[in-house]
Amino acid sequence: MKTLNAIEVHNLSFSYTSAEKTLEGVSFDIPHGSICALVGPNGSGKTTLLKIMIGLLAPAGGNVLILGKPPKESRTLIGYVPQRFSFDKTFPITVFEILHMSHPGRSRTEIMEYLHRLNMDGRADIHLGTLSGGQLQRVLICRAMLSDPAVLFLDEPVSGVDVGGEQTFYELIAYLHREYNTTIVMVSHELDVVANFADLVLCVNKKLVCDGKPEHVFTAETLTELYGKEAAHYHHKE
């Protein structure tokens, strides 16, 4: 039976040290085709939650199902764009090489087609280390999209990208969502972008503080609970 939810998280807990829980009792569902934003202050466990969902970290308790399967069994169905892709920039690896090594079943023609869709024509044979932040982000999105993912996870995808690059990036994600009905799960600090872009917001601060549509979640009370008094101004600006 096909589940209606792309992601189901039940009573999830995780801790890096025995002294403090990073996440506790987190439960939520993300329907197919949603654009879901994970928001919360620094150190609230957003990235940890994302890494558990894609199977890079194992939870201490609870469970996660991606399209009805545990994360490690659903890796072929997901794409992931990390917050930071730390590599030695002096190393001579080309854009095509990293894409082909990540997806050996894809032909050069297919990879070039994806690069074309992401406005990266003519970049296949240049060094990864010479790309700008925005171009590197596109390569990482291309790498994630080559899996034809049903769910795309993005961890603070525009950190280190200039304003113009940010705009183009969100247009690109909107295009992918529109064309392929990809479920998108994104960690973000940009509440204004989230308010316009996402249709589901999960507020995380060690636990799930609240969830729902942006207009219901971004109230002065929730923002104060999540970020402290200063953040309540954001609500009044709207």
Partner: protein, 262 residues
């Protein structure tokens, strides 16, 4: 000389091939550490009057596995672990050797490398093991490259990270010990590091970097062994000197080119 050349050509392929991944993973110190630790095995072999080569192989591989395990089970950095283990094993080897009376020619040839020390029975170990390591590297080329580039995301692209990491440490340990007789404990890791460092400066892709590393290393081995034979210099030192000279030359040429551009 012929046996040394055959051994040198095999090592000239396997060490820089592995070295490409070693330098990308910033594990250059691991090669040095394993080579020095293997001296404990050599000492055990000499004291026990058995062939030191297999004992050194066992000690080298054990050191590599121990570094792998301790890296994951403790919060100590890889460099610190290698430092502790190799100095410990080296000290053990030196104490064992101090118990032996008289001049130790075999120890000296293991320390600095010796063309004449390569025997037919050594080739029977070096050649199949080198071929095996190259076979594994070709089979898992994609996985090792992704692991070296970014370990965290590699797991999402069908890379079985932990077993392949362990396999990589074992391969480095075996390859290093294979090179000890020809190049010496002190210099063997140079063939792991120098050719990939030169190739990195000139290659335009990762695959080409691997090819240039191997081509460069083979040239250093042939030229180094020829000079070593003609001038009666230690084989390891001569091969490494040729490589280091090439490195300096290419670095200087690159420096000149970039100065002209700016």
């Amino acid at each position: 000389m012929q046996k040394a050349l055959v051994a040198g050509l095999a090592l000239g392929a396997v060490l820089p091939f592995l070295g490409t991944f070693v330098t990308l993973r910033k594990l250059s110190f691991l090669g040095d550490g394993i080579a020095h630790a293997s001296l404990a095995g050599i000492a055990i072999g000499i004291v026990a009057a058995v062939n030191p080569f297999p004992v050194a192989l066992a000690v080298g591989v054990s050191t590599g596995i121990l570094v792998y395990i301790l890296e994951r089970k403790t919060s100590i950095s890889s460099d610190a672990l290698v430092g502790v283990l190799f100095t410990g094993a080296l000290s053990f080897g030196l104490i064992l050797m101090s118990m032996q009376r008289g001049y130790q020619p075999e120890l000296l040839s293991f320390l600095f490398g010796n063309i004449l020390s390569i025997r037919a029975q050594d080739l029977w170990v070096i050649l199949p093991l080198s071929a095996g390591i190259i076979g594994v590297l070709i089979t898992y080329f994609r996985q090792f490259a992704l692991l070296a580039l970014d370990r965290e995301t590699a797991g999402l692209y069908r890379v079985n990270t932990s077993p392949l990491d362990l396999l990589f440490y074992i391969l480095v340990s075996v390859a290093i010990v294979l090179g000890v007789k020809l190049l010496g404990v002190i210099l063997v890791s140079a063939l792991l590091i120098v050719p990939p460092s030169i190739a990195k400066m000139i290659a335009r892709s990762f695959r080409k970097m691997v090819v240039w590393s191997i081509v460069g290393a083979e040239c250093f081995v042939i030229l180094g062994l020829a000079l070593s034979y003609m001038l009666d210099w230690p084989s390891g030192a001569t091969i490494v000197l040729v490589g280091a000279g090439a490195f300096l030359l290419i670095a200087a040429m690159q420096g000149l080119t970039s100065t002209r551009r700016s």
